[in-house]
């Protein structure tokens, strides 16, 4: 007789739940399989066939793992969003900032590219690291059961946060500058926004997205909570 507990443990080893909760799920599923097996054996099936039929109840263990995770977290929509978006997103952002600051401290200078009378700065080593960071954010989100959209959002989170900051800075600038008595040249502000948008949002965002898409292609079978329940 197979060791059902061990077999299920191996197949659900990546179930991202608290250890006690994970253990409970594994024991419960193993008991179910064991009972199925025993019934098949009592019905006269040979050992191999009984084993095969018991396991045939789960076509894709990774899919089951994700569905269990989604189901276990379905009662707490806020908690779900925290695990799928905010934690991976902020982690990706924090790591990208730390890495950029470290590069600057180490004396890496940005590469300057002239474009339409303005200079755009690129930190090449930083940009190279971004697909990995985007992939990390996407992977954590995917492990937490994030849908395709959420996984990709988590990967480009730093670029989105910067976009929001830029969008807020523009109107605030427009209000504050006249108050403190400075003339605002809209064309300069627009040009500056465009330049900063390219070197701090567009290019890094694309680099992050590359990592996110890669993870999505490798790991991201989207499993919706709407999935069919009856086998």
């Amino acid at each position: 007789m197979p060791d059902w507990q061990e077999l299920v443990r191996q197949r659900l080893s990546n179930l991202a739940l608290e250890p006690a909760e994970k253990d409970e799920v594994q024991v419960e599923l193993a008991t179910h399989l064991e009972e199925s097996y025993e019934v098949f054996r009592k019905e006269g099936l040979p050992e191999k066939e009984a084993l095969h039929r018991s396991f045939a109840q789960v076509g894709d263990w990774r899919d089951l793992q994700r569905r269990i995770l989604i189901a276990k977290r379905s009662g707490h929509p806020m908690q779900k969003r925290v695990h799928q978006l905010w934690i991976p997103g902020f982690l990706t952002m924090a790591l990208s900032i730390v890495f950029l600051v470290t590069l600057q401290k180490l004396g890496f200078n940005p590469r300057m590219v002239s474009w339409r009378d303005s200079d755009i700065f690129f930190y090449a080593p930083w940009l190279v690291s971004l697909p990995f960071l985007g992939a990390l954010g996407a992977y954590i989100s995917s492990r937490a059961g994030g849908s395709r959209g959420i996984v990709l959002l988590a990967s480009i989170f730093p670029a989105l946060a910067l976009t929001l900051t830029f969008l807020l800075m523009f109107p605030i600038d427009m209000i504050i500058e006249p108050i403190i008595g400075r003339q605002v040249d809209f064309s300069i502000v627009a040009a500056s926004l465009l330049r900063d948008g390219i070197d701090w949002i567009l290019v890094p965002g694309a680099a992050l997205l590359v990592g996110g898409l890669l993870v999505h292609l490798l790991f991201g079978r989207r499993v919706s909570s709407q999935d069919t329940a009856i086998g």
Binding site: V27, L64, T228
Partner: protein, 110 residues
Amino acid sequence: MIGSGIKRGTAELAILSVLEEGPLHGYEMARRIEEQTKGALRFTLAALYPMLYRMEQRGWIRGAWEISHSGRRKRCYRLTPSGKKKLLPLRKEWEELFGALKRLTKVAHA
């Protein structure tokens, strides 16, 4: 093709109905549903447990570990008061739906 919403609704109704008769663990629940529906509804392990966990999160059912006669640890599920409350309107909705479909098919064949 039956939509996933309808399938899920059917599954929820089946689980709540079978638990109304008394507490059951997962395997027994699947077997009971299959028997009582003469094989029309069949839950595999992969379909059953995500559904049970979702319903537990919603507070409709509650699972608790028990030791069976064979000495095995089994998680038994029972209806909560909230699950009992959910069962009545759910049952009514499905009766109305099947009643409507029945009337419709009769008209269509008339």
